[in-house]
Amino acid sequence: MSNPLQLPPELEDALNGLNQASRRSFLAGSGALAISLSLGALPSAKALAQAPSAAAAGPYPDPDFLELDTWIVIHANNTATFYVGKTDGGQGTGTAFRQMMCDELDIAYDKTRLIMGCTDITPDQGGSGGSDGVETDGRPMRRVAAEARRVLLELGGQHLATPVEMLAVANATISLKSNPARKVTYAELIGGKRFNIALSGRNVDFTTGQAAIKPVGDLRVIGHSHKRYDIPPKVDGSLRWAVDVKLPRMVHARNVRPPFAGAKLQRIDETTVRDVPGFIRVVSRGNYVAVICEREEQAIRAARQLKTEWQRPDAAAFPASSELFDYMRRATPTSTSEPRIEGDPDAAFKGAKHVIEAEFEVPFQGHSSIGPAHALADPSDGQMTIYSNDMKSYSHRTGIAKFLGMPREKVRVIYMDGPQVYGRTAADDAGFEAAFLAKELGRPVRVQWMRDEEAGWDTKGPAHVFKLRGGLDERGKLVALEYDACAADYNHLWYNEPDTVLIAQLMGRRPAQPAKGSTEAPTAMYAIANRRTTSRIVGLPLIWETPLRTGNLRDPNGPQVTFAFESFIDELAAAARADPIQFRLDLLEQAKEDDMFRKSRSLAVVRAAAKAYGWDTRPSPKPRPATSLDKVLTGRGVAYTYRNKTIVAVIAEVEVNLETGRVWAKRLVCAHDCGLVINPEGLRYTVECGMLHGLSRALWEEVQFDTEKVTSVNWASYPSLRHSDTPETIDVVLVNGDPNPGRPDLAPYGAGECSHKPLIAAVANAVYDATGVRLRRAPFRSERVLAALQAQST
């Protein structure tokens, strides 16, 4: 493990059929075998590449989460392997899981390793999603590790003929408190053997043994900034990713997508590709078309060269992106939420001294993964093994089994590292395609989408239109608020559904009902006595086989909703001539505390952000002499929100170039409270990158389309944040605003999405502070900012 040029052990294990067979036998309890893993003796990369792939003879049963042996194996060399049903999209959660389990087991971090998300050797914890890995899935991990420690202590007591109370544990070694020289290691007690301990729990999240987890004060590995174990092999090129797997007889496929939405395939002229070297087959079913060749570049060439004829649909698939918001405002909703009314908003508006209203718009924004969707499927031995980075490997397996009509036990997904997975990505779609093609061909098939396919056909975050209205009394106090959201989210796709993945849609499969879609109410602890909250969902004309598919994209509706809400709170503060932070603090002070202490923690976070920034109290916009000839104006803006139990406040300091319209976020400050911190540096970095992803959505990202296809299909037409946009300074302040910050049961809360959420609002508020111009339409590309500045000056 210390050799950075060797493949990571957990990946070698996942790839090595022999070890997996051993693992399954081990879990099945067939004899007291020693599992053939040892940290010093791993097969070389070359040997792995030549090893028979997926040769293990299935079936692939589900590992039983109620068996301790499913989660933890102690090896003969006094190291441990942890098996968890999660995946890591690049935020270092794997490192955090290891830290949590090490702490409870009392074993050094570098004496352990972790295997994640491989469906036949790790318990089903659902993979990733909702930023709840550390918060929710970490609990059973800690409890089972604590249980393993309890069992080992009991065994140690017997071995040393000493009552458990008189024993100490450290570094996987049990010794007498009175005489540390009398000791026994975990390996001597159980190395290579099964615990044979049953656990309880009504589902995997509640899995527990008899042991309790440690109080916060006893934690030693948690709270330490261990470096991520996956970074060295990622920077030296040694890691084998899902995109890298090669199997004997493997071939390459590329999809041929309909040239316009809703097109019906009329004819394929296969003679146009038969002379492409390495050509194997064109596979088509309904409107799904793929070309398979021996080599990757051959498949790319053949997919481009294949002549196909398509029939246009009778009606336009959708309005052009330039008409989208007008269309959404006019569209008949597919569903409307029950209005949520608090107090008497109508009476309060009547009594208000000052009423303002504003509308906000956010376009469709894409995942647009840096590495287009990919998967490799192996149909050997009548089974199906999919090598994938899909963040929900378990539903990937189940969905593909259903799609192919195969028993689940014959299908498995081997999860490996891949490009970012911030929700429902096209990784879902690519795995189904690879499996379908592999089954058709009877050979391992690797699929990867092209850039235009990824940008054009991946799932999008839903476009939103908002209308807000607020009433202030004579003292500038917010007395009434109306919030109305409209999201283009009808037929929102869930994960790995065998009747909604793209290949299923193109083949003509349909679920009984399209999903209704959703948006969400603003998340802020403000006390607003009289308010009305409404929302509705609208659909575009073409529902199926459309490139404008919506799906979860990092905090699915949060950035859009928070942009509208926190911009409008800022407008209200400006109308009240109040400092934007003081205005928010006043609203928070009047709030009622909840069981997650979100009021106290919100106040702590907003104050911490102001302090870290060095905020001077004054209203926006920033006063500036009328005679000023400055071409670059600076301003600062704040936005606050929470996501589940995690609280965040971001302050952006921007420069706005009045001649070019360019907005540069020169400085970002984030105060962040997610409870117990597992790995402070890892957390800071995730918070940083979450903010910058939000900044990219604030400044650049917008899916553009005409009435039949997406036109923003590469990095020139779908620009994303770049090095030149990077802030000069980023400060992340980790806050523990719990009223009892030292309490022994302080829990960790999710951190993968919250800091992403307030960025668009913080930047818009900072631009207002700098220029007095309110940007209500994201993203804030130069030409749009320039137009807004010019509109104000005329």
Binding site: G90, L239, Q298, G371, P419, R451, W715
Partner: protein, 159 residues
């Protein structure tokens, strides 16, 4: 198909491919290298970057037959088991989230430091601007480049 000779990371190879094949697929599929990856196939994102004759080259749009001189990939940066100072700096700064694009970040930075060992912040931004990252690791990538340029590897420094 025809025989093409390549010099990659100090070793010579002969591959039998169509001469128009982009270098990327030969490196990945014939030589089993994993540093350069497919990102866009258009030369826009830099995920596929290799260094040829001191220049950062987009291997996804470079025909294998056009390659002249030694090709260095991410795997070729370390010497005798010792990581390149940029790779050390990357680990020290923890400058990766998912890591898929980091080949492009590191190789572009390598070409920069080879021609300008002490770049200013503005020069770093300009040279790196074509190296895209959808996890948005730019801030720490820039810190890692500064760290490598300083040649100081004190743990904990440079944040």
């Amino acid at each position: 198909m025809s025989i093409v000779k390549l010099h990659v990371n100090g070793a010579s190879h002969e591959v039998d491919v169509d001469p128009s094949t982009p270098l990327l697929y030969v490196l990945r599929n014939d030589l089993d290298l994993r540093g350069p990856r497919f990102g866009c196939g258009l030369g826009q994102c830099s995920v596929c970057t290799v260094i040829i004759g001191g220049t950062a080259v987009r291997s996804c749009i470079t025909p294998v037959s056009a390659v002249r001189g030694e090709v260095t990939t991410l795997e070729g940066l370390s010497k005798n088991g010792k990581l390149h100072p940029l790779q050390e700096a990357w680990i020290e700064e923890q400058a990766a989230q998912c890591g898929y694009c980091q080949n492009g970040q590191i190789m572009t930075a390598k070409a920069l430091l080879d021609r300008n060992p002490h770049p200013s912040d503005a020069e770093i931004r300009e040279a790196m601007d074509g190296a895209l990252c959808r996890c948005m690791t730019f801030y720490r990538v820039q810190a890692a480049i500064r760290r490598a340029a300083r040649g100081t590897m004190t743990p904990g420094e440079g944040k």
